[in-house]
Amino acid sequence: MTDVHGAPDTEHLMAAIEGEVRRARASGALPQGFEQELDRLFAELSPASATGEGFAEMLRKAEEYSFIDPLAPVASNIRGGSAAKGAIRRLVLWNLEWMARQVSAFDHTVVVALRQLHERIQRIEQDVAAHPPAVSVRRAPPDVTEWAEFVADVLKETRGRVLHAECGDGTLVAALARGGLDAYGVDPRADLALAAADAGLDVRPDEVEDHLGLIGDGELGAVVLSGFVDSIALPRKVALAERAARAVAPDGSVLILSVDPRTWLAMGSPVEVDLAPGRPLRAETWQYLLEERGLRFVDVRHHTAQPAAEGATLGTGTYALVMARPR
């Protein structure tokens, strides 16, 4: 894997490593869910704010740290050191206690104020449109079979991992893997994701935004977004465009599989459509959002209206937008 000068040929080397990763995954050498289990185990040992977990847990930690202990340890490796430290501690303890009480009181007050602020923000969040509605609607799994061939063709030269979010039962993940791509999926509906994993696909039960938030810049070869992108509120769509754009490497792609907004109301489950916090965007709008984040337009394909299957969110009046990060 060296060039004529004996120097490592980086391009070929990385392609070989990626090929080896695909083979290892396909062979089942790494059990399904092994890497997720590694992440889960470490998350269990990590403090809340190191893993991006709950604000409430961070407040609890802040409260714990708000107590200032004026009793400094007196252990020492030097002979007589302990006694000397103990004597100094006794001498200054009254002063330190007086200071520590004030600092602890200040810290505690700040934590209490933060807790109250947190509660107020939670109430505000519940009132704004960006927050999911109180009514829980189970969305139908996206039917992206009509795009599988196109997506597989667009991504056939992709280097690195391909993420399909939300991937539902993993149909597209399976199609991409069959095409030799190192594809995996995430879907928040645990039953769907686990069923796909049981079928031998690398599909993880996770919220898409949470998952993308953990991925470093340029770590993925491609991101395919479908299903939920139609129904989430606009602020989430913009944040999603940002995360997806950052996640792909140079030459990597972001694909949006979406419903044309003009057919949105006429299709799918009425309950789902009526209660969705957002509406689908036109391809031009996704293109604009992604261009703003440094991606360039590659292609857009439209499927003209066809009879909608009952409960389907895709299948009629849909489009596939392909954007890429310039090298």
């Binding site: 120097a7 490592p8 980086t10 890497e35 185990l41 403090p47 190191a50």
Partner: protein, 362 residues
């Protein structure tokens, strides 16, 4: 200009910044300048002088104060109140969020360091960065004049006498396990250095390629809670026997680890330069590294640079290096060439150019 004095929050003889400061002192004295190192933790009998000695010195417009910034320190306030011209040598401050959950006091100190970088930017005539990555941060912080000059490292000092007892122990452990690769990383146990991701990579590597492989983590700890979590993690993964946490080691033991290593693996998320990469090149240990912060710049092709640290990708890269002797040899050769860019002679020349340009007002 008649004097160049340096300031460090704390000085340690074996620390990369400490060695760098000594080299600058030598260089300044060779240029005919008076030059001393002052540090917050220094004693009068040591290599560096206590700050009190400096505070007693009369103000001199003929002296330049060079501050080595790598964390938050009360020293900045002291320097900001002095009228002498100031230069900052920036070694990078780890972003505080890496320590937020693990070690809040450390996070607070680092956060102060970042604020101080901005505070001192307005007062400093020049910011010298040890890498182009660091220079970009200096610019962002508001430094008007910046330059890049690498860390002054005496590469010959890497030729420490190997501790043969330690080497024998490592060789014996390998024989006892019936072989298996020895993966090495050198650096403080710290969340930004992401040793937990090395544990994940080892778990994947053992599962797919080499069930006897071991990982050696050489270095002291920056965060006790992170170290505790790493040890517990190794235990939970059933890797307690396969991972060595050496803590702080002598030069000889460090050399023994480089001698015994098959591959140096770095998945750090934040490095301002990463001197251990140079050490690995010097010891001709092939390198696999995650492309983050200044690592790609320091490595410059002298290692396998990964765009992701997905455990299986790191494992596959390690396997590729160990299975392909031609590749490993090519990486070693590239390491030797790259190391030449950091030879003490070359780095001293660069630092002298930067200093002379500054002193001449250019």
């Amino acid at each position: 200009m008649k004097a160049l004095h340096q300031f460090l929050p704390s000085y340690a003889v074996h620390d990369a910044v400490g060695g760098h400061a000594r080299q600058i002192r030598r260089l300044a004295r060779e240029m005919g300048l008076r030059s001393d190192i002052y540090a917050g933790n220094a004693r009068r009998s040591g290599d560096a002088l206590p700050l009190a000695d400096f505070e007693r010195m009369p103000v001199s417009r003929d002296a330049v104060l060079l501050y080595h910034l790598s964390t938050g320190s009360a020293l900045v306030e002291l320097l900001l109140h002095r009228p002498e011209p100031k230069v900052v040598n920036y070694h990078n401050v780890t972003p505080a969020q890496f320590f937020d959950g693990w070690d809040p006091p450390m996070a607070a100190e680092l956060s102060v360091g970042r604020h101080q970088l901005e505070a001192i930017a307005a007062a400093a005539d020049l910011g010298i960065a040890v890498s182009a990555f660091n220079e970009r941060e200096l610019r962002t912080a508001g430094f008007r004049e910046t330059a890049v000059a690498p860390v002054l490292v005496d590469l010959e000092a890497f030729d420490r006498a190997v501790d043969h007892q330690a080497l024998a122990r490592l060789t014996k452990a390998k024989a006892k396990a019936g072989g298996g690769a020895d993966l090495l990383f050198v650096g403080r146990l710290a969340p930004n250095k992401a040793q937990h991701d090395l544990l994940k990579a080892l778990a994947a590597y053992r599962r797919v390629y080499d069930p006897k492989a071991r990982l050696h983590l050489v270095g002291t700890s920056s965060s006790e809670s992170y170290r505790t979590a790493l040890v517990a993690y190794a235990d939970r993964l059933g890797l307690a026997e396969a991972i060595e946490f050496t803590g702080s080691v002598s030069d000889g033991v460090l050399a023994a680890h480089y001698r015994a290593a098959d591959v140096f693996v770095c998945v750090s998320e934040h490095e301002g330069f990463c001197v251990p990469l140079l050490e690995a090149m010097h010891h001709r240990v092939p390198i696999v590294a995650y492309a983050a912060a200044a690592v790609p710049e320091t490595l410059a092709g002298a290692g396998v640079l990964l765009p992701t640290k997905d455990p299986l990708t790191v494992a596959a890269a390690v396997n590729r290096v160990l299975a392909d002797e031609t590749l490993a040899a090519a990486l070693r050769e590239r390491g030797c060439v790259r190391l030449g860019d950091f030879s003490l002679e070359r780095s001293r020349r660069r630092f002298t150019e930067v200093l002379e340009a500054y002193l001449s007002g250019g």
